[in-house]
């Protein structure tokens, strides 16, 4: 689950205050809001990449407000995907697992499993600059899922994709959600995307998060 309680954070002159949000375990939540309303900032706060001034962040029954990002058990897919340019796709998927000192065989098994789920088995030995935008999105998703996080944070994952890929990625996200049961918080601009994917709709406006029914 994701629960934000009275979060306040400040970034220069930009400020969010008294933010509350609750998403049950295994749900698919979509957060919408105008550009500059602070969606990404909020997502970064959940991941622990941005300090909050006050409030509590609870991820999967744990209060993670004071924990470093590494210990929060989140998977983060930023808007620009940020695939590590010096690593093979295989290494990207294995990155979180290597840090957790898993055995070679275990890592290989998990990487293959993920590659199959995301349909990127053929890309494992490529560098990120040799794959297309849609493929990069899948790799970024796989990298974030590898260490089995309880929460997946997606920052406009479908923004830069064309119509056809868009539909394909939507189906993939649905499948990932169904098969892994991970709690997903997904930021988007597109109402149709939100309608299609989400069980839960949130709107960030004027420094407040509202739940749309």
């Amino acid at each position: 689950m994701i629960a934000l309680e009275k979060i306040a954070l400040r970034q220069g002159s930009f400020e969010l205050r008294d933010i509350g949000l609750e998403l049950a375990a295994g749900e698919y939540g979509v957060l919408m809001g105008a550009s500059g309303s602070g969606k990404t900032t909020l997502l970064e706060a959940i991941c622990g990449l941005r300090k909050i001034a006050s409030g509590r962040i609870i991820l999967g029954e744990r209060d993670v407000s004071q924990l470093p990002p590494a210990e929060r058990g989140v998977g983060y897919v930023p808007q620009d995907r940020a695939l590590f340019p010096t690593m093979l796709v295989r290494e990207q998927l294995a990155f979180g697992l290597v840090l957790r000192a898993l055995g070679q065989a275990q890592i290989a098994k998990r990487v293959n499993e993920l590659a199959e789920l995301l349909g990127i088995t053929g890309l494992l030995d490529r560098m990120p600059d040799n794959i297309s935008g849609g493929e990069a999105q899948r790799v970024a998703l796989g990298r974030a899922l590898a260490h089995r996080p309880s929460v997946l944070c997606l920052d406009e994952p479908l923004a830069a994709l064309d119509e056809e890929l868009h539909g394909e990625m939507c189906r993939l996200l649905e499948r990932v959600h169904r098969e892994t049961g991970v709690t997903i918080l997904h930021i988007t601009h597109s109402p149709s995307e939100a309608r299609r994917l989400a069980g839960c709709h949130f709107r960030l406006a004027d420094g407040q998060v509202q739940r749309d029914e």
């Binding site: 590494a70 620009d80 590590f84 990155f95 990298r143 974030a144």
Partner: protein, 420 residues
């Protein structure tokens, strides 16, 4: 409402703009190329003859043609001055610089016009009169003053016996004699030819310059490693963290770049007056001073480069790495440094090149003691001071070669990174 384009509208040609770019850029490139080429071409790579004293009293003759007596069938070296048309020996006319055999006993220097001083040079080729060997040291007597100095190198050829031919260091000189070591048990030769090796050979043979090449290579490499060691953390810190006093630190980091190099050396010298005696004894006017002086300037450039490198790597990568389970140290080593390799290489190359060319601070802080604190720029300076332009040029060529080798190596390594 904006007016539609009038019929027949044509935008002005791009040609003047593109030509302007090409001319401005091209002229600079041309100068760079010409500059390096001039160095390479100017140096005469052939051996030079050993010459006797000047026979034309410079600037003395203004009354037109001048007659100088020469020895028939002897070799002479003629260099034409800017006021002269050439040299006439009977039927023989010499109009270009170089060695020639005199065909007559009288040489006439021909000026372009009467009333201007003759500036040509005419020098006899030194001939070997006697050869003696004692304790494997050969002493060669020449018929004229040879002008060679102790420590210079001489090429011996056509000696006919083993143990003679080759480039020898002159161990002793008098006006008409030079001595040099020959191989163990070499028999005295009856004849031999002497010539001066070209300045590049002289430079590469010279113990002083060999030392300075060695010190330059070692100190530059040391400086580069030290610079990177310092520049990586500072560059990363300045790129990633916001803290109070950052603008002040930013300015401080630029001081060595902005400050005249000489002042850097002077400041170091004065700083070490406040250091404990054992430390300043160990550093000032010794080789560590060379490294420190190079480091102070080179490091500032490395810091700049590393900072720009880190600035160009988005913070997103670290953020993602952090969520994947890295701490900051792991994110830095696993994700950021692999991406910064190109920048690291560039910073290293820049630091190395800066260190190689550093002169002012070294002169002030480490001195210019031969075989102690002499680096290549110091050698070039000492050669120039001694009036040996060609020696200086030879040292410059060594520096160019060193820089080219380092740049090509760095580029190749960089390419490998890109194409691998």
């Amino acid at each position: 409402m904006s007016d539609p384009a009038p019929p027949g509208f044509r935008s002005a040609s791009d040609k003047p703009f593109l030509v302007g770019l090409a001319v401005l850029g091209g002229s600079y490139l041309l100068i760079i190329g010409a500059m390096v080429l001039a160095d390479l071409v100017f140096l005469n790579y052939s051996d030079r003859p050993v010459l006797g004293p000047e026979m034309v009293k410079q600037g003395r003759y203004t009354g037109g043609e001048v007659t100088v007596s020469v020895e028939p069938s002897r070799g002479y070296f003629f260099r034409k001055g800017k006021n002269d048309a050439g040299l006439q020996l009977g039927e023989q006319h010499i109009a270009s610089d170089g060695l020639f055999q005199a065909a007559a006993g009288q040489a006439v220097l021909l000026p372009h016009a009467s009333g201007r001083p003759i500036t040509a040079s005419l020098r006899p080729e030194a001939r070997v009169l006697g050869i003696a060997v004692t304790n494997d040291v050969a002493t060669v007597t020449t018929d004229v003053a040879h002008g060679l100095l102790w420590g210079e190198f001489i090429r011996v050829s056509d000696a006919g016996g083993p143990g003679w031919d080759g480039v020898r260091e002159i161990t002793d000189t008098t006006t008409n004699q030079i001595s040099f070591a020959v191989a163990n048990g070499a028999q005295s030769a009856t004849k031999l030819s002497l010539s001066k090796p070209n300045p590049l050979v002289q430079a590469l043979r010279s113990r002083d310059i060999r030392f300075s090449i060695k010190l330059s290579l070692i100190s530059c490499t040391l400086t580069t490693l030290l610079s990177l060691w310092v520049a990586v953390p500072i560059g990363y810190m300045m790129s990633r963290f916001e803290f109070r006093g950052k603008p002040v630190i930013d300015t401080l980091l630029d001081i060595p770049i902005v400050l005249p190099p000489l002042v850097v050396g002077l400041s170091l010298l004065i700083l070490f007056r406040y250091m404990p005696e054992w430390l300043s004894d160990a550093v000032v006017y010794k080789w560590p001073a060379v490294v420190l002086a190079q480091f102070m300037v080179a490091c500032a450039f490395a810091v700049r480069t590393m900072r720009v490198t880190f600035d160009q790597i988005p913070q997103r990568f670290e953020q993602v790495a952090l969520t994947l389970g890295c701490n900051r140290r792991q994110a830095f080593w696993r994700v950021i440094m692999p991406q910064a390799r190109g920048g690291l290489l560039a910073a290293g190359t820049l630091a190395w090149a800066r260190a190689l060319g550093e002169f002012g601070p070294i002169l002030v802080f480490a001195g210019a003691t031969r075989q102690k604190t002499e680096v290549l720029p110091t050698s070039a300076f000492l050669e120039l001071q001694a009036g040996r332009t060609e020696g200086m040029l030879a040292v410059s060529l060594i520096m160019i070669a060193a820089a080219v080798v380092v740049f090509i190596t760095a580029r190749t390594l960089g390419m490998k990174r890109i194409f691998a």
